[in-house]
């Protein structure tokens, strides 16, 4: 039995070793990313059994196609693409859709002019760093995320939570970059609104004293 693989071994080294036949290397990669894939799919699918199935599918798929992984994208990005693709299949199946892309052919790109202006504006009482340590913050975040339209939530999950670029996000979801950006903006603004209602300091609430479209600054 081989020695445990040290933490400092890079993903690309592990991929090379897995390709050369080392199961341990693939298992290490799995341990590195399983939580992340599971969290992403759980947030996308909002159902534990489905998230488990898709997570398992993702790693099995990665195992089988490892030979074809060229390393153009990072292993993490490649894995997240596989996971997203598998999760989207579940979503489409739930809706009884056949199309590959989530972007319905007849759906126009959302415009910036219909984006709702922020209403509840207040400085937060605590910094994100302080909040992250609190257990109840996570459920607040998940509740806010759950309230988003799925099409906005998916973009936010990939772009802001997982850190994929706009281009990668658009590619993974089968959307145009323009549409991805608008959906991202809507997601961010809506989450801001939701979270500020709870996390904002009501004593420091700011009210816009002029209609946003009129005065020039």
């Amino acid at each position: 039995m081989t020695n445990p693989i040290p933490l400092e071994v890079s993903d690309s080294d592990l991929v090379a070793r897995a390709k050369a036949g080392e199961l341990d290397a693939f298992e290490t990669l799995t341990n590195r990313y399983a939580q992340r894939v599971y969290s992403l799919t759980l947030r996308m699918l909002r159902q534990e059994q489905d998230a488990e199935d898709v997570t398992q599918q993702t790693f099995l798929s990665a195992l089988e196609s490892l030979g074809g992984f060229r390393g153009d994208a990072s292993f993490a990005t490649w894995l997240l693409r596989i996971a997203t693709h598998a999760a989207l299949k579940v979503i489409r199946k739930r809706k009884g859709l056949d199309t590959v892309s989530l972007e319905e052919a007849t759906e126009p790109t959302e415009g910036y002019d219909t984006i709702p202006h922020p209403e509840y504006i207040a400085d937060w009482r605590q910094s994100p760093e302080e909040l992250v340590r609190k257990h109840e913050t996570q459920s607040l975040l998940d509740d806010a995320l759950a309230k988003l339209d799925e099409k906005h939530r998916l973009v936010f999950l990939l772009r802001d939570v997982e850190g994929l670029s706009v281009e990668e996000t658009a590619g993974a979801l089968g959307l145009s970059e323009a549409n991805t950006k608008v959906r991202l903006l809507r997601a961010r603004l809506q989450l801001r609104e939701q979270l500020t209602l709870t996390l904002g300091d009501p004593y420091r609430r700011v009210v816009q004293t002029h209609p946003p479209t009129e005065e020039e600054h």
Binding site: F59, P118, E129, V161, G163, K181, V206
Partner: protein, 82 residues
């Protein structure tokens, strides 16, 4: 720059990909518009909060199932090779 215009470029400003000239306009506006300044701060805080959120733990039984399935598929795949 008006508040509504700022909104359309919020993504780019927060992500740091905005044109320097527009960036200047943005910051000039925010210097004189507290609501916009706070909204931009809120958005940054929101993104940070989600980015640094705790990932979900894998249920233990599932983790075991996953590894069993991978080992099985691995031996199947590797046995198929000549």
């Amino acid at each position: 720059m008006k508040c509504a215009e700022l909104l359309t470029m919020l993504n780019e400003y927060v992500d740091g990909t905005v044109d320097p000239a527009i960036c200047e306009e943005f910051e000039k506006h925010m210097a004189g518009c507290n609501p916009c300044q706070v909204v931009v701060d809120n958005i940054r805080q929101t993104i940070t909060l989600y980015k640094e959120g705790k990932p979900y733990d894998l249920p233990i039984a599932f983790r075991q199932r996953l590894h069993t399935a991978l080992r099985q598929r691995w031996s199947e795949t590797h046995c198929r090779k000549p």
